[in-house]
């Protein structure tokens, strides 16, 4: 199946029952596929009047208890940013898919890019927690979108699912796991009486994530994008503002282990390691195999979680490898994170490509040969 279809199918398997979207290349097939399959499982699909309306409807639907998702590409992702911040501060689980295309602005709508990596982390204003996942294949799209929902529900945060045009549009074989074998996580519900419910009291949960009631079930609570206290009502009291922002931010540190997905290929004895993500990691894998064939001890660090950045993996590699090569379809974005996490212990080499074509294995191989 196609990557975008795998995204749609995986989301439904994860329990997603509400999708709101707006047509945009190269993500449109996700909406088209969901328009057909969601009503078959009793779910609802709506094409909204614009990108902002789509993410807004998704947040509204999630507040009723429905796992909800929207999908877009660069220009639409920019438009959705304000509401992504709302989901972060109001702690409303939702998944936002961005099938990356060349930007800025309209750019090249039909061609791949990886230039939204920083925007995915920092696109909305203010300090806020998000997790960003990035699949490298169609099969991985299916399984990883399930994780996106699990993380979003578990931690009550928006999860950004960063695909690229190649992964979105290519067709590959996918073995659909039996539905019983998929690990599905649902949000924690309050176990108190409605009159005792404090909707933003994390101490009623695990100290970080408050249990979440659905709208329409008698809990009668308030949700706002203003800073709020544990009752959910607005506050500007400095200690309460501080506590809220710090608690929201702490979700990422607490979740780090659980949400970090990294694959290592031949890194044990590697002299040079390729750090890559998305479709570029596929080129990286081929380059590493070819390098090994020509006697270079190369390895691959494939990041499926981009944020939180997998610092510990990079630092460990940096301690033993001579160099880390970072190929990206942008002007060099995550390479700065690789440099930061390597703490000067190894040489970090950036390989960039911004001509609307994916990076080829031979390009990476030639860098591996030069190091």
């Amino acid at each position: 199946m196609q990557g975008n279809e795998a995204c749609a199918e995986g989301a439904v398997a994860a329990g997603m029952r509400f999708f709101a979207g707006y047509p945009i290349t190269p993500s449109t097939e996700i909406a088209e596929h969901l328009a057909a399959i969601l009503p078959k499982v009793g779910g609802k699909f709506i094409q909204m009047e614009d990108e902002i309306a789509s993410i807004s409807a998704v947040i509204g639907a999630s507040l009723t208890g429905a796992k909800s998702m929207t999908a877009t590409s660069g220009p639409g992702f920019s438009l959705k940013q304000e509401s992504i911040g709302f989901a972060a501060i109001a702690e409303v689980p939702c998944v936002i898919v961005n099938v990356m295309r060349v930007g800025p602005s309209t750019g090249v709508p039909t061609a791949p890019s990886q230039a939204d990596v920083m925007q995915a982390r920092w696109g909305t204003h203010g300090d806020h927690p998000v997790v960003v996942l990035c699949p490298t294949s169609v099969a991985e799209t299916y399984t990883l979108i399930v994780e996106a929902f699990n993380i979003s529900e578990r931690w009550r945060i928006p999860v950004i699912f960063l695909m690229d045009e190649v992964v979105g549009h290519m067709r590959e074989k996918v073995e659909i796991p039996d539905s019983g074998k998929l690990k599905i996580v649902n949000r924690a519900y309050p176990d108190c009486e409605p009159e005792d419910y404090l909707p933003f009291d994390a101490d009623a949960g695990d100290g970080v994530v408050p249990p979440m009631a659905d709208f329409g079930t008698g809990y009668r609570f308030h949700v706002t994008g203003l800073t709020h206290d544990r009752t959910g009502f607005p506050t500007t009291k400095r200690p309460e503002v501080d506590a809220l922002i710090r608690r929201l931010d702490s979700k990422i540190d607490k979740a780090r282990q659980e949400v970090t997905f990294v694959d290592e290929v031949l890194t044990d004895d590697a002299d040079i390691v390729v750090f890559a993500y998305g479709i570029t990691a596929r080129a990286g894998a081929k380059a590493v195999r070819d390098a090994r064939a020509s006697g270079i001890a190369a390895g691959l660090l494939k990041a499926k979680t981009l944020w939180p950045f997998p610092d510990e993996y990079v630092e460990r590699i940096a301690q033993k490898a001579r160099a880390i090569v970072v190929p990206e379809m942008n002007m060099g974005q995550l390479v700065h994170e690789v440099e930061r996490a390597s703490k000067g212990k190894t040489k970090v080499i950036s390989l960039t490509r911004v001509d609307a074509e994916p990076i080829s294995p031979s390009e990476i191989l030639s860098v591996l040969k030069e190091v």
Partner: protein, 276 residues
């Protein structure tokens, strides 16, 4: 009222943030009396707002309440209504929120005819940010961003929303709070998109700059300039020029959106059955 108004209020969240003389409390009272007259279950009402003075209203109401981003209340409400069509979903919004930044959502919610009741608290100004002109500021009036007098024409929101496809539109005023409340009750009871423009007063940021020194003067203005549909039919266009028409201004019967969506689910189920 069958129940005291405090039954519907989160009185522990008072005092409210509205200025002395603000009309929004009167409009909110009309909304609550309408809810009371329909005997709606508090657990089954969801009130959604955007940003602005009017949008702070839900915080004082004892329902499930959602205070969203600027202009987007109807889009959030659409997600809620789709996934829980049984809820009574009410959007409370100011004129800037609804007619400027949220204008696109307003016409599309009306076009879909989704069963959401929208009340526009129209005070003709951006109050929260201290008095900039809105799409509802009358021509010639003074605002902080129109120091020489406003040169744009306001919308007729009721005409706009009815043309877009709403099932019911109407207008009321804070001064005429009884008829306003009855109009809102009819809007809530309508099975489709229903829109009520409630003319409200902002003495602080509109009145003082426009020769209406206090709330009383502004309520007097409402009293003198509101005409019923029937009275309006007897007036010439010149006589109507500085008046506003109150009452139920348009109704039609159209299929409601979430009910229509059930036909999609039925069609999809049929296709699944045929393939099995």
């Amino acid at each position: 009222m069958a129940k005291p108004i405090t039954y519907y209020l989160r009185t522990d969240k008072m005092p409210h943030i509205w200025c002395e003389g603000c009309g929004h409390g009167i409009v909110l009272g009309a909304v609550l009396r309408a809810i009371d007259s329909l005997d709606l279950d508090k657990d089954n009402v969801c009130v959604v707002s955007g940003i602005g003075c009017a949008s702070r209203a839900p915080g004082y109401l004892d329902f499930d309440t959602l205070h969203t981003t600027h202009g987007r209340a109807l889009a959030f409400a659409t997600g809620i209504k789709m996934m829980k069509p049984g809820l009574d979903v009410i959007v409370l919004a100011g004129d800037g929120d609804l007619a400027a930044i949220g204008g696109n959502h307003l016409i599309h919610a009306a076009r879909r005819n989704i069963n959401i009741t929208t009340i526009c608290f129209n005070n003709s100004i951006y109050g929260m940010t201290s008095g900039q002109y809105s799409p509802m500021t009358p021509t010639g009036k003074i605002a902080t961003t129109a120091p020489y007098g406003h040169i744009e024409e306001p919308f007729d929101l009721c005409e706009l929303v009815f043309a877009a496809g709403a099932s019911l539109v109407g207008r009321g005023a804070a001064y005429h709070s009884g008829p306003l409340s009855r109009l809102i009750a009819k809007a809530i009871a309508t099975d489709g998109f229903a829109f009520v423009e409630a003319v409200s007063q902002c003495p602080t940021y509109f009145g003082r700059r426009n020769k209406m020194k206090n709330a009383l003067a502004m309520l007097d203005w409402q009293k003198e300039h509101a005409v019923t549909k029937k009275a309006a039919s007897r007036l010439s266009p010149e006589e109507l020029a500085d008046k506003f028409v109150i009452g139920e201004l348009g109704t039609r019967t159209r299929p409601e959106y979430t009910k229509r969506y059930e036909s999609i689910i039925a069609a999809a189920a049929k296709e699944t059955d045929e393939n099995v």
